[in-house]
Amino acid sequence: MLETVDLKKVFKNNVAVNDANLYLDQGESVGLLGPNGAGKSTTISMISSLLVPTSGDVKWHGKSVVKDPKTIRDVLGVVPQDIALYEELSALENLKFFGKIYGLKGKELDTKINEVLEIVGLEERQKELVKTYSGGMKRRINIAVALLHEPEFIIMDEPTVGIDPQSRNYILEMVRQLNEEKGMTVLYTSHYMEEVERLCDRIYIMDHGKIIATGTKDELTSILSSEETILVELDRSYPNLIQALESLDDVLQVTEHDKGIKLIVPKGCRLLGKVFQQAEKEEAQIVSINVQVPTLEDVFLHLTGRKLRD
């Protein structure tokens, strides 16, 4: 349904998106995961026809969006990363205006507005000015506006940034319902691993403008299937122990983790004994020890050598 072909965007000397290839099928929910500055928003702007790519193309049902933006605009809803509303107007007035520019009017407009207000759960406060809303409420109206014209494809750019866990949960549940119950195709960007894990059928991982991995959550974590993670919790930090563990033969990666240490080792290498030995030598107090299957976070760490969020 949607496909990007070697999509590239260069700002002056900065390559924001570098040969990105991705696709979405109808009814899918796809996540675009990446740290700050990875190029997620730039990719989205090009997909939604707001930004012309330096090279490459975006195809909607095989037709070029770059050549004919209208093909995608009519069926597309975009929730921008920054709140795009008239703050001095009420939520209702905002919805009325954005509904009108999509050609809705009269009864139909009122019905649609009530519908989206119900979806985002703000019926009761619709008459209040947007500038008096909390961050979470603004985010919800920001989404409501994008739903007014019943798009079949919705792009959400970090719709949960900077809000309380309750609003966040509400929004995630809402997106899941839109996708599962209304059959909307969703492209969801985030730098929160948990959100993408919970919502998306497939995931693209992006870093420095490049798509570095793709697949379902299971496929991605199986990149690390030959490895496992050992989490050692200690009573305090022991820098010497980290050094000692790093020098062990089989250990692939050691990172400090809160008061503990995280080790990535080849599967079934029976390292636990050696860990205990070293801990004893450094007189470190082990509180607990845990062997884990890898997460997306570990995948990202593995692929880039960095954490997703610093």
Binding site: S48, R73, P80, D82, Y86, E88, I101, G103
Partner: protein, 367 residues
Amino acid sequence: MKALFLLQWQRLKREPLLIGSMILMSIIFVLSMGSSSVGDAVSVPTSFDESINEEERESWLDRLNQAEGFSFFQTDEKKAREDVALGTVPFSLKVMENDYQLLILNESAELQMLDQVVRQTFINEARLTAVEEQVNQESFREEVDQYMSEPPLVVKNETIGTESDNVGYNNELQVLFGMTLFFSMYTIIFSLSKIAEEKRSGTMNRIILSPVRKWQVYLGYMGYSFVIGFVHIVSVFLLFKYVFDFDVGDHFGSLIVVVGCFVFSVVALGMLMLGSVKTLEQLNAVVPIVTVSMAMIGGAYWPIEAVSNNILLAISKVVPVTYTMEALKSIAIYNQNLSGVLEPISIVLLIGVLCMGIGVNLFERKA
């Protein structure tokens, strides 16, 4: 387009302060500067010799007060002397049977004018009295008054203004037109700058993604800033015409057409400025510079006749304010109608069309 146009009014209703204060400023400036040279008569304490009775005193005051620029009122001689001595008034007048005395603090230009006014009044009166004694007729004075109010011949002095002379200078209208045009430029350009604000806030992206066409977006915004600029100027003109009795001539309709052309050219100029700056902050810095210098060079602060520098005069030829001031004054002071100001207003329109074309192009390219 209609939705976009109406949206701006809705937003204005919520935040009317900026535009409201621009309109208020034009009114305040016209009131304070326009009236300072008219109506503010210098008061002159006047005392009378004892030989003049109360009735005669009244008629002396009436005659003296016919002169413009001074207002004579009766006081007693002692008080008048004290006031002059203390410097609370610059001078006082003492009227005697066949003569007068001026009590002065120091020499001044006003004093000379006062002396002239009083002397003229005395000479006229002396002549009338002399004739009156000869004809010895009761109704003589009334006849003279009547005759003077309907003279058989009036010599009127009128010259069509050129850049070098001052004839036809009317401070009231100069200030009314100049200040209103000046402040309206802010109203118009700041209203138009909402379009740049929307680009920044991201609402413009939403509009672009909707089925609304580009030209409809521009038309919605420009229509709004045109109407608000037009309402600003016309309402101030109406206020001063009807409430403060400014004489703006008999062709108010023509004035309105000129205003329309001016507002169009400023909307276009605003578009050019929006297209040339990178950020809203830059725009906010550039707007006062451009409007103030256009107002100065174009003759909104003072008459263009006061400008003699050739470079400034040359620049004034490409500023719409210049032609608008010229057209407005021709209509209001020299009673021209629209056909008399076709040349200046077509230049204004031409400047508008040019700025609009370049401005919209620049603005589009930035996206």
